[in-house]
């Protein structure tokens, strides 16, 4: 039972996501690639909103758009990428396109075959899920949560150690 505005919003977001994702992997300008990634990530955040996962949507906006893309832009600028007319694709582009098409064909065929007639029931009682997600994390997933926090700390320390200039 989906309202027409939900269908319409889905198709708008799907077009935004697909077009900007294709531009991410085809554009000749590295900065534009990172900025098109913002389009894809914001579209995905819109999809999460549509699926009543507003906490995931805002985490996506904060962490991905706010931190990861900025980090990527730092990386692009620190490596002094030739901005503009650079050639960033290697010579196996047709093979890569074939491979991606094969992946898309097989996975979407399997998905349509198994879930073709299943529907998401939005129901009448759409309500916030943030509280439930919090309960779930701190009741059922406490150990994975702590492991992820240790992983983040280790990754942070590791990144500093790797990227630091040697003192001598």
């Amino acid at each position: 039972m989906a309202a027409p505005w939900q269908q319409g919003l889905f198709w708008i977001l799907a077009v935004v996501i697909a077009v900007s994702a294709i531009r991410v992997v085809t554009t000749r300008n590295v900065i534009h690639a990172a900025l098109y990634l913002v389009g894809t990530l914001m579209g995905a955040a819109g999809l999460y909103m549509l699926l009543v996962a507003e906490f995931v949507a805002w985490v996506q906006v904060l962490v991905y758009v706010g931190a990861v893309v900025v980090l990527m832009l730092f990386g692009l600028m620190l490596t002094r990428a030739p901005i503009g007319k650079g050639e960033f694709d290697n010579d196996q582009r047709p093979l890569a396109a074939l491979c991606a098409l094969a992946v898309f064909g097989v996975t979407s065929w399997i998905l349509i075959d198994s879930f073709g007639d299943k529907k998401i029931d939005f129901g009448g009682n759409i309500r916030s899920t943030t509280g439930d997600v919090g309960m779930m994390i701190f009741r059922d997933f406490v150990l994975p949560f702590e492991v992820v926090s240790v992983l983040l700390l280790a990754a942070l320390v590791g990144a500093v150690v790797i990227a630091r200039r040697d003192p001598q």
Partner: protein
């Protein structure tokens, strides 16, 4: 709304990421394509979480974990890219054949 819309969209996003990883030569652009693939997984997880409403919200929690791990991966990946750039003055993946057998 059919759940398969979301699933096929995420399959499309994933295969665009596969294309980017295979066809790009610049290390940071490959990292961007990996982000596309991780996002495809997140869309899938959240769609299934909405579809399997009675089974709790494990899908959303796992999407949050994927986002956290992706942030860690980007930090480490960019540190490695910057180190390689400092040592070799290039981030072209075809130049990084030192460990190729």
């Amino acid at each position: 709304m059919p759940v398969v819309f979301f699933l096929v969209l995420s399959a499309l996003l994933f295969s665009i990421g596969v294309y980017g990883v295979l066809a790009r030569q610049h290390a940071v652009l490959v990292l961007l394509s990996i982000e596309l693939m991780l996002n495809a997984v997140n869309v899938n997880l959240v769609a299934f979480s909405a579809y399997l409403q009675n089974a709790g919200l494990g899908g959303q929690v796992f999407a949050l974990f994927v986002i956290a791990v992706a942030a860690a991966e980007v930090g480490i990946g960019l540190a490695i890219v910057i180190l390689i750039y400092r040592n070799r003055a290039s981030v072209d993946l075809d130049d990084m054949a030192l460990m190729k057998w």
